[in-house]
Amino acid sequence: MSGELELKLRDRLAKLKRLHLPGAGISDEVRRIEQQLEKMDSGDERDEDEIWRSVEFARHPERPYTLDYIERLIGDWIELHGDRARMDDPAVVSGLGSFAGRTVAVIGHQKGRGDAVQRVKRNFGMSNPEGYRKAMRVMDIANRHGFPVITFVDTPGAYPGVAAEQHGQGGALAASQAAMARLTVPAVACVIGEGGSGGAIAFALANRVLMQQFAIYSVISPEGCASILWRDAGQARKAAAAFRPDAVHCLELGVIDSIIPEPKNGAHSDYDEAAKLLGSSLRATLDELKKMSGKDLRRDRRDRFRSHGVFAS
């Protein structure tokens, strides 16, 4: 398979060298392909299999979900339901509880486990706008009462449905981020499974973004990317290797602040151990944010996101 890729790259290289396009760094591209070919020769390119393992672990049907962590980490938990306008969205869980000696608000995507009925009930963790509006309501409570906000991100994406669109899915995702941008309490996001695109980012505009070792975080699903760019959803492995949704890459790009280790065989192999590791990262992160004033927290959060992006000028 890599032989095929190598041939393609060499072919491309030859074409680029023949082509003299003005403007955008074609010579850089030539250099990049040459480097990639060198790497292939030395065989140290990050393995497609390794990245795909993260994708599989992140979507593992036995992977612990938001409520599994809440059960193990949050005391005095009380779930708060409903968006006060239309409905309660079961794909999002929100509520109050105690963590590390203080009251916190917890918000997360929730997938159903086991039979189809359970999974459909939670809509596979794909929220409607009402779910994000419920979350915003709880964020508002947290902000007024000084409770830190902890979010658990685990969704394939916002739900692609007719009613979801009619009720303003895009606007709800934007509004949820805006609500997080306004918080004057500490906000910590943990990507615990699939950090899928807009649905994920709605809960991830936090002071610190943590990510579990085998979670993924991406702008589009590997299948979605493959079907658009390769015109073939079957090329998902290849697509994942191209945009690298794994935690190591997200850390390299500065998109997340730290990687939370998982049990050796993945979070699904030992819920208690996974929760312990997640809890200690969360505690340390909240401690670090404790000293900051509300105004500084808000500034810090917006500055954190201001710096994202790579461009030339």
Binding site: R12, L21, P22, G23, A24, G25, I26, D28, E29, R32, I33, Q36, A158, P160, V162, E165, Q166, H167, G168, Q169, G170, G171, L173, A174, A175, Q177, A178, A181, R182, S197, G198, A200, I201, A202, A204, L205, Y217, V219, I220, C225, I228, L229, W230, A239, A242, F243, R244, P245, H249, L253, V255, R302, F305, R306, H308, G309, V310, F311, A312, S313
Partner: protein, 282 residues
């Protein structure tokens, strides 16, 4: 010159291509009326027969909306890098080079200062023909700088949007442009700067989940597709017929997501009115 619309987000009811061949860009896809370039330009690229709004590129949009010669471009030198060394069937670098050649633009957004009826404001305009108007690091950065300049200059921001969403060739960094631009809008809000968002066909996905829906005022041109998920994907998910106006501005207006639908020839006067009403800032 406006490019063809990416089929992946094209409205499901758009008429089929006759004989499978591409229509001439000056032929109305709704009623088949055909126009010379100058006729179409004179009518703001709107079909005189059926009022279909043809796509408008960023430069032509500026010409249509702004007082003559009032546009001063800023951050013009920003160019996409290729942080992932992204390579699908073709390389990202090659796709950018091609888009630059095709559109004569540096990326999918122009940013700068402008005036309408003498009223000063900051402006961003997107161009769908540059890689489907997708938002990568350059578009995100230009929009944020527009917000910062609006705050600095104490003038309103108008953004004219047209985008398929995030630019997946920049991977997770393109997703990060979403919260990045949201934060910039919040800063603007704190500073009391008015923000008018104009949605034009199509404005979808990552754009709707970020600044495009956060305007103090949000208006759209008729027929604008403005959905978070495109009709094709929704149809594959729900496996039933979609409403005829699924995701269109008209449907969004009925459900309360738009302040107004404004026809193109009313756009400039409407923006002038809003600029007058919001008055001087600061």
């Amino acid at each position: 010159m406006a490019g063809r619309i990416d089929v992946s987000i094209e409205h499901k009811n758009s008429p089929p291509e006759p004989g499978g061949s591409k229509k001439h860009p000056n032929t109305c896809p709704k009623c088949n009326s055909h126009y010379r370039d100058d006729e179409l330009a004179a009518n703001l690229r709107v079909c005189a027969q059926c009022d279909y709004h043809f796509p408008v590129g960023a430069l032509e949009r500026i010409e249509q909306l702004l007082d003559d010669g009032s546009f001063i471009e800023e951050a013009a030198d920003l160019r996409s890098a290729d942080p992932l060394g992204f390579f699908d069937l073709r390389s990202y670098k090659e796709r950018i080079a091609e888009a630059e050649l095709k559109t004569g633009l540096g990326d999918a957004m122009l940013m700068g200062q402008g005036k309408i009826e003498g009223l000063d404001f900051q402006l961003t305009v997107m161009d769908f023909s540059f890689m489907a108007g997708s938002m990568g690091s350059v578009v995100g950065e230009k929009f944020v700088r527009a917000c910062e300049r609006a705050i600095e200059r104490k003038v309103p921001l108008i953004s004219v949007n047209a985008s398929g969403g995030a630019r997946m060739q920049e991977g997770i960094l393109s997703l990060m442009q979403v919260p990045k631009t949201v934060c910039a809008v919040e800063n603007m809000r704190d500073a009391g700067i008015p923000f008018i968002s104009v949605l034009t066909h199509p404005t979808t996905a990552g754009l709707l989940a970020s600044f495009a829906t956060l305007g103090d005022i949000t208006i759209a041109e008729p027929g604008t597709l403005m959905c978070f998920t495109g009709p094709r994907v929704v149809q594959q998910t729900v496996r039933e017929d979609l409403p005829d106006d699924f995701g269109l501005a008209e449907s969004n207006f009925r459900f309360g997501h738009l302040d107004a639908i404004v026809r193109r020839r009313e756009l400039k006067p409407t923006l002038a009115k809003l600029l007058r009403l919001f008055g001087h800032v600061g």
